[in-house]
Symmetry: C2
Subunit: 195 residues, 2 copies
């Protein structure tokens, strides 16, 4: 196996990168400026050293606590619970939310071997117990696993004076009734709001 094959094989291990794409990427890099390959190599080698998990919210960060947990300007009385660290980025980019976050590290999925003890529920409970939390917003995907996890958090926090809410589910903005599936339609009926 030569250096081209080795790089192809490594690229093909990435999600969504098949054998043909892996080859195209390899030859693209080989055809291109060696400096690009060198900088990419440096960033990859450096990634796991530079990035750790925030000891408060569990999101990936270069500093601990992360910039969001450390920011006194954020609303510390609201925690937005997400499945994974990239979800924090997606929500931050919407500029819609100004509270803190909590990364579970997954959703409850017993069939895939993901049980509550594998997720960051203990640290969430601790935060609700020791910080002054008014509301916990569940920003979990509207899937079976998301529903199960939402129910679990609701139950976990039922003895605390904290409001547990979940992001609205319904028709996507700009979408068309015609293309909405039955479940989405049913949710948007149940979640209908007064105009």
């Amino acid at each position: 196996m030569n250096a081209i094959d080795r790089l192809e094989t490594l690229f093909a291990k990435l999600p969504g990168i098949g054998k043909k794409t892996a080859r195209r990427l390899t030859y693209h890099i080989l055809d291109g400026d060696p400096r690009y390959a060198r900088v990419l190599a440096e960033q990859l080698a450096n990634l796991h050293d530079a990035i750790k998990r925030c000891s408060i919210c569990g999101s990936f960060t270069e500093t601990d606590p992360c910039p969001i947990c450390a920011d006194p300007g954020r609303d510390g009385s609201v925690i937005c619970v997400v499945e994974r660290s990239p979800d924090v980025r997606i929500i931050e980019e919407s500029k819609e939310y100004h509270g803190r976050f909590h990364v579970l590290g997954g959703l409850i999925a017993p069939l895939e071997g993901v049980n509550p003890r594998d997720l960051a529920f203990g640290s969430l409970l601790n935060r609700v117990r020791h910080e002054t939390i008014r509301e916990v917003i569940l920003a979990l995907n509207p899937t079976v696993e998301g529903d199960t996890t939402a129910l679990y958090v609701q139950n976990l926090l039922k003895d605390f004076s904290v409001e547990v809410t979940r992001l609205a589910s319904g028709l996507p903005v700009g979408g068309d009734l015609e293309y909405a599936d039955r479940l989405t339609l049913s949710r948007s009926f149940r979640g209908r709001v007064k105009v």
Copy 2:
């Protein structure tokens, strides 16, 4: 910009990798085994040092001449002319061809600033002049640029006693007439063979 953003930005420079895919790849690597990131980094850093171009055919190789040019078992009287180095791999995998190769490094495309002097025609001419070549097979894409380049090679070699052929163009095997475009259909008519 932190280490995550930097890696995302680098990934997004690759062909076919958009901003969202770049992010997914970055978090996948971050979530995964640090050894994978390290090995990928090493292979990237090593790539341009390990791989050079064959001084005879111009394809990417770890040794010079490349294994194909150095193999005495290959038919040295036939040269298959391809656009880029990965094409050599694709043809090799078909196990259909047992001659040598010549990599042009592109196709003639004046509108994109690719002129004959940018491509490896000089070395092709030298090979036809000094080696004993019986046939030059043009394995170029059936596109306007491929046609232009084929015509150019034909003209370049017209004073030599070498047969210039081109891969057949027509309906793909397993394809359906219904889905063939007009040009493909027209080519497959012109190239029809006696059954």
